[in-house]
């Protein structure tokens, strides 16, 4: 399976549209990754769409549902993570004072 690259820009004032149109990102090479194709209802369920229970209970879907139910505990935990306390204050301290305007 081939994977597409995403462009990377260092310029902080790049608009998102501009960011997607630059040099190729070299972060990770294209590589072969073995895949376990899941039935379409499983992806729709994981995407948050409504799916018939019967479709998820089918033999070809069951193992995927079990697997992702386990993974969901971990992704939910990560979703609840907060920025470490005090980091906002550290950021504010590191900001350069504004340049004084000439009188």
């Amino acid at each position: 399976m081939k994977h597409e690259d995403l462009n990377s820009h260092k310029t902080p004032n790049s608009a998102p549209e501009q960011a997607a149109a630059g040099a190729p990102d070299l972060t990770t090479p294209e590589r072969e990754i073995p895949v376990v194709p899941a039935p379409a209802p499983v992806h729709r369920w994981l995407d948050g769409e409504s799916v018939q229970d019967a479709d998820l209970a089918k033999p070809d879907a069951e193992k995927h549902v079990k697997f992702w139910a386990k993974l969901k505990n971990e992704t939910d935990r990560r979703h609840r993570m907060k920025t470490p306390i005090g980091l906002d204050a550290i950021i504010m301290e590191k900001l350069e004072p504004p340049v004084a305007k000439d009188e």
């Binding site: 995403l6 990377s8 960011a19 990102d25 972060t27 899941a38 992704t75 906002d88 504010m92």
Partner: protein
């Protein structure tokens, strides 16, 4: 009679549009930038953590991103949140690019990988560890899509907006990421 200046309640200011907050910062009210930090730090931290797998690195990237945003605040065109996200996302990719170089040199020296120290194993749950390792093996585009969908809980429409691509392309990336992660983890977690 001159009225004493009154502070606007923080919660009222937090709901102010980003454009208004930015105007205040650019007018010299540096403290108003704290509102933007408070508003956006959690989702951005989760993104950086998901992409790098390292709380320390995620904190560093978050700090640098906000500082860059502050320094270039006058250059914002369009949505601030999308602009800020791109700064952070690019910071993550730059870090990954560098760590990959480091990782390659470790491999050449036959050293262990950077995320598998015994201390880390003790500190983290096994699933957390395994998911981190599996995520690290994904190409950045797939990892990014998976993290935005399943860790940050963003809709495909929101992701498409932030990444300037189509919903269809992002669905494809997320589906591929899921299938690759399952292939890597299912033996243990099936």
């Amino acid at each position: 009679m001159v009225k004493a200046p009154q502070r606007t309640p923080p919660e009222a200011v937090t709901t102010a549009p980003d454009e208004e907050i930015i105007e205040r910062v650019l007018a010299g009210h540096r403290e108003a930038f704290h509102l933007l930090v408070t508003k956006y730090s959690d989702p951005l931290y989760r993104h950086a953590l998901g992409m790098t797998g390292s709380p320390d690195v995620a904190e560093d990237i978050l700090q640098v991103s906000f500082i860059k945003a502050y320094q270039h605040l006058g250059e914002v065109r369009g949505r601030f949140d999308a602009w800020l996200f791109r700064i952070l996302a690019n910071g993550c990719k730059d870090w990954l690019k560098n760590i990959r170089r480091t990782h390659v040199s470790y491999e050449e020296d036959d050293q262990p990988s950077h995320y598998a120290t015994p201390d880390e194993d003790l500190d983290r749950g096994q699933l957390r560890d395994d998911l981190d390792r599996a995520l690290q093996t994904l190409p950045a585009t797939l990892r990014e899509a998976f993290v935005m969908k399943h860790v940050e809980g963003r809709s495909y429409e929101e992701m498409a907006d932030l990444l300037s691509t189509t919903v269809g392309a992002l669905k494809m990336r997320v589906h591929r990421a899921r299938e690759a992660l399952q292939a890597l983890l299912e033996e243990k977690y099936a």
